[in-house]
Symmetry: C2
Subunit: 423 residues, 2 copies
């Protein structure tokens, strides 16, 4: 892939000398926690900031933090554009008014038992950049934008990256609008936009193009911490597929049924989990089961039915597709077993995401600055395991991501934490 | 073990010629279904008898069927004794009034989603024996008894074999009395006895001895059907131990956490299930998991905690004890894994039952009659995989059990069925 990054921008970034222009870490920290007053939940310690978050997309707290974001961005010279799916674009003019802005974006919504960093850090860091430029009285040749993407988590409306996907035209606006609140299906995403006063005029990557999109995000994994790195330069995002797998065997009494007459759905499920892991390891991929339910659920009854999920990931879409096929085939063999009775294994694909490839010039620019800031031995090239709004933008504009360490690799959890010095 | 069966009884049984005295199969069938009017539930077909049962111990339906049982037994010459835990003894006098009765016993209570045969068949078959003797005007030298043991299932009050264990003095009466209704802990078993008018005078194997105990029961497994046998001669009951196993790892994101940094509690649990099965197979034992719960339960989060049960069985108590130790040791190794992060595995034993050994003379008597009735190629010596009241009685008097086939090996299920011709 050749870079689509505007040469002028590339040159500007490459010429940047670290230390010429620094943000205020304490202001960034204060702002992050200030913004978390809307949706703070799940206290885990005595300090005021020792809580997690429950700020579901477009709920009352999200409406409040969005209104606050707009006031803060406008106070440092940005104008606000809200599109048809509630994405907020805070645009800071450059010398060339005709050019597309270079964006920094992430999301302010959280999981119901989320933390204070996932998404939030990226948006408030972008606000801190705007404030720094403003207070230093600096103008840029090209416009800049800070973007707060709607419903990234998919926790309230069950489609992750919904806002950025509408902008990228991989999700039609009317499909996004008709997404239903998982807790109250009478509320659509469009209803929630109206309620939050966030229903703007439809615009997408054609009508509101971005010259590039940069996203600072917590790693949500343990790699940087374990390898004692400070900054991850993200080369792209893994492809992944999700499946609901149903294993149908036959209930039987644990005491009176010899193995050869069993069709134990849970034993079959366990074998699939173990073998899927081994098969994934062989090709450097990941296969994981997060949800499992076994029925009927009695100590002395072998389960007749198991429903579980399987999540398969790798940096290459073709590796994911091939591995999924082989795991499915193997699961059918495991279902047949060696005894007289068999389990049947049914697979339903529930979601898939192709691999995301980030822009070489963006990657290089991020790496150069990272190395200059923390030294080459503290910088790591890596792939993103989780999905991000940058996956959507990477389809439409040059995109890059910056990862910072997650303590213990914990994310989607109230105790999610990133050392402020790692920002 | 040498037989404790009275010589006189042994001689009588050994002299029995099949065909001299036959029950009425149609009356037995009618009686079984008649008794199921109290507690019928879970319809699965259009025929009146195509339902399962939900007759929990000492509930209103159990009280009705108990009152009906007493009327029917008394109508054919039995006197009723109810003991302190509600066990009903219907005693038919013999010529020798001073001798202990030879008993036929099982239970009338069912699982909440139970069938029409488990326990019920054994009790109504005993009633049919009493009726046959009565209508033929036959007297026996020794008294006979039909026993309806209380709370065999342990489904309402969580201690299986409770009534027979009190009789056998392996469960103190006050402990049985204080068992709490699993659905309404404000009700004790003693309260339920009073409510059902089934609180009698305490008596046990000392004050109300039985000369022997025979139990006809459905197999609750597939062996007889699969091997085309009609009657199982039960040599004893498997020992078993139940465990709650808790595996504590660490939640992590399925996409951003390489295997070496995971402590995936569900992967660890799956390995334990698979390896416990292999280890049990090696020694001819059974290890099974019926209940599993994984938290937090999200497609893209590796579970941090899994709770599951493990049920280990073998005909010998020492084999069970040794196997359980080895599975526990192996689970600790599997928990440690090969990566940087570990799962801890905690085991709590929740129940154990020693192997039951039945009486050689009772076994021989049953086998002789079975062979004479259906031919030696349709009779199979076997062990009971499930627990039965006969396990309790075997500790205090010569005991034997007769198994009849279960269609598809299904039990503890509304569709439980045994061909009437197999009775």
């Amino acid at each position: 892939m050749t870079s689509r990054l505007p040469t002028s921008l590339h040159r500007t970034l490459s010429r940047y000398k670290p230390g010429d222009l620094r943000i205020s870490p304490s202001r960034l920290l204060d702002t992050l926690h200030h913004s978390c007053q809307w949706g703070a939940a799940h206290r885990y310690g005595p300090q005021p900031t020792q809580t997690g978050m429950a700020r579901l997309s477009l709920d009352a707290n999200d409406a409040k933090v969005r209104a606050w974001m707009a006031r803060e961005a406008e106070a440092v010279g940005c104008r606000t554009v809200v599109d048809g799916v509630g994405n907020q674009f805070f645009i800071r003019p450059g010398d060339r008014a005709d050019a597309a802005p270079t964006a920094m974006g992430s999301h302010m919504d959280t999981q119901p038992t989320g933390g204070r960093y996932d998404g939030i850090l990226g948006v408030v860091a972008g606000l801190e950049v705007m404030r720094t430029l403003h207070h230093r009285g600096l103008r840029t040749r090209y416009p800049l934008a800070l973007v707060n993407w709607t419903n990234e988590e998919g926790a309230r409306f069950p489609r992750s990256l919904a806002g950025s996907a509408v902008w990228a035209e991989t999700l039609p606006l009317d499909q996004a609008w008709s997404l239903k609140d998982v807790n109250d299906p009478s509320i659509t995403l469009r209803d929630a936009l109206v309620e939050a006063r966030m229903l703007g005029t439809h615009c997408d990557h054609r009508s509101l193009p971005l010259a590039a999109h940069f996203e600072l995000h917590i790693e949500q994994g343990p790699i940087l911490e374990q390898r004692d790195k400070r900054i991850g330069v993200v080369l792209g995002g893994q492809a992944y597929k999700w499946f609901d797998v149903e294993i149908s065997g036959m209930e039987c009494h644990t005491g009176s049924t010899p193995y050869e007459y069993r069709a134990d759905a849970l034993l079959c499920a366990s074998r699939i989990i173990v073998e899927a892991t081994l098969m994934a390891k062989e090709v450097g991929a990941l296969a994981s089961t997060g949800i499992i339910e076994a029925r009927p659920g009695s100590v002395n009854t072998c389960p007749g039915t198991v429903r579980m999920t399987i999540d398969v990931r790798h940096a290459r879409s073709d590796v994911v597709a091939d591995l999924c096929q082989r795991i499915r085939a193997r699961s059918a063999v495991l279902g047949r077993g060696t005894g007289d009775r068999h389990c049947t294994v049914r697979w339903d694909q529930t979601f898939e995401s192709d691999a995301a490839t980030f822009d070489p010039a963006c990657i290089e620019a991020i790496r150069d600055v990272a190395v200059a800031t923390v030294g080459s031995d503290r910088v790591l090239d890596m792939y993103s395991g989780a999905g991000h709004d940058s996956f959507s933008t990477s389809l439409r504009c040059p995109t890059g991501m910056i990862f910072v360490p997650s303590r213990d690799g914990i994310s989607h959890n109230p105790s999610e934490f990133t050392e402020p010095e790692h920002w």
